[in-house]
């Protein structure tokens, strides 16, 4: 086991390089040539199955469809209307009727003609579907957050590694220029030794709830498959509120709330800036409305609100300077000369991130937001959430991935999967 664990650090070495390097290496003649201006022939395109057709799933699906070497061949959703709309959109885009629609994602995974899957279900299912997809031999692009509990994302990272799968987490800010620039300032020492890494969470108003709602008449499976929506989560009677994003995203059994909603992005950028992609903070505590994690190198990860520059902002502070940026594309720094003449576009499109994933599907390199990196980032969020739930300081050992001597906290790292699903 020691060999397996110690090789993880080396395993990550290539990931940072691959995002920029994969496309620069000269391509020898291959049927699946990268990034052609012309559309690849139908038989040489990567066949994509999309699982989860809510707003984000549709958006990222279109980013995949914009790539010349991808063809969407199947869509899946537990909601009948979303399923039908997605299928219709794909047919209209390709001007054919070749895309199948499914309630049960396993039908897509069983198909040998499907190469890659995009997973954009609710948070509750991200790890479970990823595991099934890996076991079916697919490469995976899975939306964030990677998991609802820590042991799930560890299982995903281990499974991807064990089966040689390419996995890209949808933390696409790792592929967006102003965030990359900010991290580069940190990595090249322009900010000095890092002291604080501020990561915006989605807002303190998103209260984690534990409710069991009253039973309501369950829709027909074709309209909405309740059992499949629940997936590995605990069974409970149907209620129309559960599947609403505004509800489940604050429920402990289906989500990690405000901290994982944005912390999976902003905490991830902070981990990267601190060159902590193979580790994490060693203790967490609360100060006012902030959750603080401290790294061994002394830097603090601060999960908070109130930063500038739109959604998902971060601020990276060192003893010689700082940089702050967010989805608006604006960036500020001290000293100002760090910025030079740079201007950045706003927004957080997934396109570069999708391309980085596809390139790695061909080369088998580790993408820049691979499973191990994403697991470490979401782990920091999960432990911060445990600190929040228990209302006290939590010690964390990133090597053993446990809270030393703290059984109460350790029990919250894991949840049993509902049959027939398994970790």
């Amino acid at each position: 086991m020691a060999t397996h664990k110690t090789s993880r650090r080396a395993f990550l070495r290539g990931a940072a390089a691959s995002a920029a390097g994969a496309a620069l290496f000269p391509n020898i003649v291959r049927a699946e040539t990268l990034g052609n201006a012309q559309r690849a022939g139908a038989n040489s395109r990567l066949a994509l199955g999309v699982i989860g057709m809510g707003g984000r799933g549709v958006q990222v699906m279109h980013a995949f469809m914009a790539q010349p070497d991808v063809q969407v061949r199947a869509v899946c959703d537990v909601f009948g209307d979303r399923r039908a709309n997605a299928q219709a959109a794909v047919h209209q885009s390709y001007n054919d009727t070749d895309c199948s629609a499914h309630i049960d994602f396993r039908e897509i995974l069983d198909r040998e003609d499907i190469d890659i899957v995009l997973i954009a279900t609710g948070d509750n299912w991200h790890s479970g579907v990823s595991l099934c997809a890996a076991r079916a031999g697919k490469d995976i692009y899975c939306e964030k957050p990677m998991s609802v509990t820590l042991t799930e994302s560890r299982a995903v990272a281990d499974t991807m590694r064990r089966l040689g799968r390419v996995y890209q987490c949808g933390t696409q800010r790792r592929s967006i220029s102003h965030f990359r620039f900010a991290v580069r300032l940190a990595h090249t020492g322009r900010l000095g030794n890092l002291t604080e890494l501020h990561a915006e969470e989605a807002g303190a108003f998103q209260v984690l709830n534990y409710d069991v709602l009253p039973q309501e008449p369950q829709p027909e499976r074709d309209v909405f498959d309740w059992d499949m929506w629940l997936g590995p989560a605990q069974w409970r009677p149907y209620n129309v509120e559960y599947p609403k994003r505004g509800y489940w995203s604050g429920h402990v059994d289906f989500s990690g709330g405000s901290i994982t909603e944005w912390g999976s992005h902003t905490g991830d950028i902070c981990q990267w800036a601190n060159q902590a992609d193979d580790t994490g903070p060693t203790k967490f505590w609360q100060e006012g409305d902030r959750y603080i994690g401290q790294y061994e190198n002394g830097a603090k990860l601060i999960l908070r609100t109130g930063l500038r520059f739109g959604t998902c902002p971060v601020k990276i502070v060192g003893d010689e300077g700082w940089v702050e940026t967010g989805d608006s594309g604006e960036i500020d720094a001290y000293p100002k000369s760090l910025l030079g003449d740079r201007l950045f576009e706003g927004g957080y499109p997934p396109d570069n991130h999708v391309r980085a994933f596809l390139d790695c599907v061909y080369t088998r390199q580790e993408p820049n937001a691979n499973a191990e990196i994403a697991h470490r980032s979401i782990s920091a969020c999960h432990v911060a959430n445990i600190c929040k739930r228990l209302g006290r300081e939590i010690a964390w050992d990133p090597a053993t991935e446990t809270c030393p001597g703290d059984e109460e906290a350790n029990r919250l790292l894991h949840r049993a999967y509902r049959e027939p699903w398994y970790l």
Binding site: F11, G14, A17, R190, A204, G340, E407, Y417
Partner: protein
């Protein structure tokens, strides 16, 4: 009470509510009470919540009560929710005991829990389940054996796999067991690399073998690189990147010598990702002697393993005739991270031909080097235009007010490319440094030739301070036509509202400045955030319009102000042949927002829309008005 204070109070109330909710769910009745609920209650929710709490704090005492739920369709999982979390051996025993008595779906779940608990005592029972007719049960049991690992589990998995079913599940489980069990499992991994297993298993076994036997990995990787399996070859490159071990890099690099082009490029990619300079010598050799595409890959690899000693070679490639080599060399040079690279680039730039020197200046700036600006400043007076232009490019990116004087001096250069580059650089410095850049600009303006003065005047607008405006105003009346024109343009594009009175004064004249000044005045009025001031300004502007172009600008500005005054002004223009369509469009823009103001406004808007819908010249505008009317009801 201010909005900010109300928000703060609301925030703290919600935070308190959150804390209460969290603690309510992460604390609860004592264990004996929860056990009693499980044993006596028939209410699903009461038992669900009891299991929920026992997951947090249950002990062996609650195992018997939980065990009784293991065959319940809706509560078996909740029982496991609690049992899986407990270290107590009684929990494992209860799960094992239940395997023989529960229905098929529950067996899959219990098998999974035994795997999570790595329960070695369950190996026998799980082995039996791997033959279950229910695929979910079988695969859950197979996966559980993989997690448990150890010789007995591995033996059971190998026996089960021989039958041929669930091939991927067995492969995954064997990899899991082999990776996490004590001892070496090379023979197992070698077997799993054979073509009888699905590709993911083979890749995983390749990795497991390389990582568990790193000293043997070069031979293994060399064999794969020489083979026909493209995916395995590509995966070999990833393993080159990741397998840890001292001395391995040189051995991997030694494989380069015997590789055909495609294999060499694949291997180079792995060495680049590995990032170990121990491969440098072999890579440099290929950069010199390899096939053309291999040379490119070798140059790319140097970006992560190259050193300052490679700067001369890369510089030579940048200056060479092969454009693709120059591109790859340049990118690698920009990416080198070891000590002394910047200094080496500066040294090389002094000996290089002009085009190469220019490229090296750009590389220094791209590297964010602290030597970039000083080196560029030295190059401002270079003989060759291409060098000066590159130097001003760096000044443009990094220059401060301290560099303004030298940049201004270059505005008088005889070389047009230098003048343009200097102009661009000055513009960026002024935009970035603002007030700090004013003194050198003002000083130079006092004695500049007209062409230079015109450029300086434009930069007063980029500085944008009150003092810069004061310096600009006299230039509007300059005897030099180019300077006056530049000043007028700058004034009309002025960023701040302080220019408005001056523009208004000019707009009231009959001279050539009127039109530009009015345009600038309307632009600023449009940006005014105080509604009464905006209305007053637009009314003033409207009174000064002389052409339809003038009127269009004012109308467009009214179209950004959802106010009754705008509605009045635009309605008056609806029937005007010259500007009616534009007035209609502008009115439609503000209609929705204005209609929300009050009932009187809504009715006024509807009346205006009715006029537009029936009388506007453009069909598209009539249609928009009609739709909006319908929306307003």
């Amino acid at each position: 009470m201010s909005c900010t204070r109300l928000s703060a109070i609301a925030f703290f109330c919600c935070a308190a509510l959150f804390s209460a909710a969290a603690q309510a769910a992460d604390s609860g009745p004592p264990e004996p009470e929860l056990i009693a609920t499980l044993e006596t209650s028939t209410d699903w929710q009461a038992r669900y919540e009891a299991c929920y709490q026992l997951r947090r704090m249950g002990t062996a005492a609650s195992v018997p009560a939980l065990a009784k739920l293991l065959n319940d369709e809706h509560l078996s999982h909740m029982a496991r929710y609690a049992l899986e979390a407990m270290d107590a051996p009684e929990a494992g025993a209860a799960l094992r005991d239940a395997l023989g008595t529960v229905d098929a779906p529950r067996k899959a779940g219990i098998a999974s829990s035994l795997g999570v608990r790595r329960d070695n005592e369950a190996v026998g029972a799980l082995t039996a389940l791997t033959q279950d007719a229910d695929a979910a049960v079988a695969e859950s049991a197979i996966a559980a054996l993989g997690r448990i690992g150890g010789p007995e589990a591995i033996g059971a998995l190998l026996s089960g796999a021989a039958a041929g079913a669930h091939r991927m599940a067995y492969g995954d489980a064997l990899l899991d067991a082999g990776t996490n069990s004590p001892g070496k499992h090379w023979d197992l991994f070698k077997d799993l690399m054979s073509n009888t297993w699905p590709e993911p298993v083979r890749l995983g076994a390749f990795r497991a073998l390389a990582v568990s036997a790193p000293d043997h990995s070069p031979k293994l990787i060399g064999e794969v690189l020489s083979g026909d399996d493209v995916r395995m070859r590509d995966f070999a490159a990833q393993l080159v990147a990741e397998v840890p071990g001292k001395g391995l890099t040189r051995k991997y690099a030694a494989l380069l010598a015997n590789q055909p082009s495609e294999g060499a490029i694949t291997l180079l990619r792995g060495l680049a990702d590995r990032g170990d300079a121990q491969a440098r010598k072999a890579v440099l050799e290929l950069a010199k002697t390899g096939a053309p595409e291999v040379q490119l890959a070798a140059l790319q690899t140097l970006s992560s393993i190259g050193t300052a000693a490679d700067v001369p070679m890369l510089t030579a490639r940048i200056g060479g005739e092969a454009a693709d080599q120059a591109e790859y060399a340049r990118k690698s040079l920009a990416a080198l991270r070891t000590d002394g690279v910047d200094e080496a680039i500066v040294k090389a730039s002094k000996k290089s031909a002009p085009a190469t020197r220019a490229a090296l200046l750009e590389v220094l700036a791209e590297r964010g080097s602290s030597l970039a600006l000083p080196t560029a400043l030295e190059a401002l007076s270079a003989k060759d235009s291409v060098v000066r232009v590159a130097a001003f490019g760096t000044v443009s990116q990094l220059g401060t007010a301290s560099e303004a004087e030298a940049t201004i001096a270059a505005l008088a250069s005889e070389d047009e490319a230098t003048r343009e580059a200097a102009s661009k650089a000055l513009g960026r410095i002024c935009a970035r440094e603002q007030a700090a850049a004013l003194p050198p600009v003002q000083t130079a303006l006092a004695s500049a030739e007209p062409a230079t003065a015109a450029v300086l005047v434009r930069n007063l607008g980029r500085i944008g301070s009150a003092e810069a405006l004061a310096a600009l105003l006299p230039q509007v009346d300059s005897a030099q036509p180019d300077v006056a024109a530049a000043a007028l343009q700058t004034l009309s594009e002025w960023p701040g509202q302080e220019a408005r009175p001056h523009l208004l004064a000019l707009a009231k004249t009959d001279g050539p400045a009127r039109e530009s000044a009015l345009k600038g005045f309307v632009r600023l009025a449009r940006a005014e955030t105080d509604a009464p001031a905006k209305i007053a300004a637009l009314q003033e502007a409207a009174a000064l319009t002389k052409s339809k172009q003038d009127r269009w600008q004012v109308i467009a500005a009214w179209g950004t102000l959802p106010d009754p005054a705008a509605l009045t002004a635009l309605t008056a223009d609806l029937s005007d042949a010259e500007v009616g369509n534009e007035a209609a469009s502008a009115l439609i823009n503000i209609a929705t927002e204005l209609a929300k103001r009050d009932e009187e406004s809504k009715q006024a808007v509807k009346a205006a829309l009715e006029t537009i819908a029936t009388q506007a010249e453009s069909q598209a505008v009539r249609d928009r008005a009609a739709k909006l009317q319908a929306d307003l009801g």
